[in-house]
């Protein structure tokens, strides 16, 4: 047997899981409940305001982390969950899960870069 290279993906999984644990609930609350219910003032997520945040270096970095870390967490966990549900085509599942995560990472990087 040989030492596995899983630490690479596992570190992303663990960091993403931690990130998701801390920030995802409040973000869902904001975009999914506070905004539609009017709890959040309309100008809070106004275009100019959000754009201003996304135009700063630190803003870009934070937004990127918020999007891409939980994606890798979800992708890795989904791969394992597929196995837990009896799907044994791991080689295929792996490409789908990590492929989606990589796509989301690249797209969000490009979107942020172009802002």
């Amino acid at each position: 047997m040989a030492v596995s290279n899983k630490p690479i993906i596992w570190l992303l999984f663990a960091a993403g899981g931690t990130f998701a644990a801390f920030v995802t609930p409040v973000l869902i609350f904001i975009t999914g409940l506070a905004l539609p219910s009017g709890l959040l003032p309309a100008e809070a997520l106004a275009y100019d305001r959000v754009l201003a945040v996304a135009q700063t270096q630190i803003g870009k970095l934070v937004l990127f982390a918020v999007v891409f870390l939980p994606v890798w967490h979800a992708a890795h966990r989904l791969r394992i969950t597929a196995h837990d549900f009896g799907i044994r085509a791991d080689a295929f599942v792996k490409y789908i899960c990590y492929g989606l995560a990589a796509t989301a990472t690249v797209i969000s990087a490009i979107a942020l870069f172009s802002i």
Partner: protein
């Protein structure tokens, strides 16, 4: 002797005559302070001498009497009848092949236990005359809980990843590897890594946590495995950044 009658449904399998295992029910008059093992011993002594099962110490030390009791992996000598209903289903530990009746085949576990080198690998050997390797209480407390493992394999019976991934080294063996890795007198961590940090080692674990819940001695294999994942990841990146550190 109280008058309580307990119905024991025992999964029987005779490799010489049976195609597959089937349940057989025994009515056992039992005393207030009996454990499931006492009821099984009663069956063996009074009702059916052909019943096969393992036990030795009757005090949760030898680790040989593990069984599924109403679907839960437990030591039958530590499962009091007063905590159980009047109908009790007893099966051999899941995730192991059945040798006969309640006796399972342990070979796979034994091989895996052996593969993690669960013994002290000191920096240099010492003869008895040279004295002992010293250790402070603080150093001992780092791994003491993991020394309590009695190899009863209840954790293997509880672990779905062991059930569904043939090569998985499994909870108890990985916890014991961690126990020696944490020992201040031991330098075997990299020697164990080939198995422990392989795909069939810690990385097959998805942290279900059932192993720790069923352990009769409060050992926490799930914790040991997560800690090993972190330590192995640190090793991995350090080895990558500092080439030649590990050949």
């Amino acid at each position: 002797m109280s008058n309580r009658i307990v119905e024991l449904e025992i999964l029987r399998y005779n490799p010489e005559t049976d195609e597959e295992p089937k349940f057989q029910t025994f009515s056992v008059p039992c005393a207030e302070d009996w454990v499931v093992l006492d009821a099984i011993n009663y069956i063996k002594d009074e009702l059916d001498r052909t019943l096969s099962y393992r036990w030795s110490c009757h005090m949760a030390v030898c680790g040989s009497c593990g069984m599924m009791i109403n679907g839960e992996p437990m030591l039958s000598c530590k499962s009091f009848l007063r905590d159980l209903p009047d109908r009790i289903r007893v099966e051999p530990l899941t995730n192991f092949p059945i040798e006969r009746d309640l006796v399972v085949v342990m070979d796979d576990f034994m091989d895996k236990l052996d593969s993690v080198k669960p013994f002290l690998i000191p920096r240099e050997e010492k003869t008895v005359d040279e004295g002992e390797f010293l250790q402070t209480p603080a150093q001992l407390s780092k791994f003491k809980q993991y020394t309590l493992c009695i190899n009863c394999t209840l954790c293997y019976a509880a672990c779905p990843q062991y059930a569904h991934n043939e090569g998985f080294v499994g909870p108890a063996a990985l916890a014991l590897a961690h126990r020696y890795n944490l020992d201040s007198r031991d330098v075997g961590r990299s020697a164990r890594a080939d198995v422990v940090a392989s795909n069939a080692g810690i990385w097959e674990c998805s942290f279900v946590g059932a192993c720790s819940e069923v352990c009769p001695h409060g050992v926490d294999p799930a914790a040991a495995i997560q800690q090993t994942k972190i330590a192995s990841s640190v090793d991995y990146f350090r080895d990558m950044l500092i080439p030649g550190r590990r050949s």
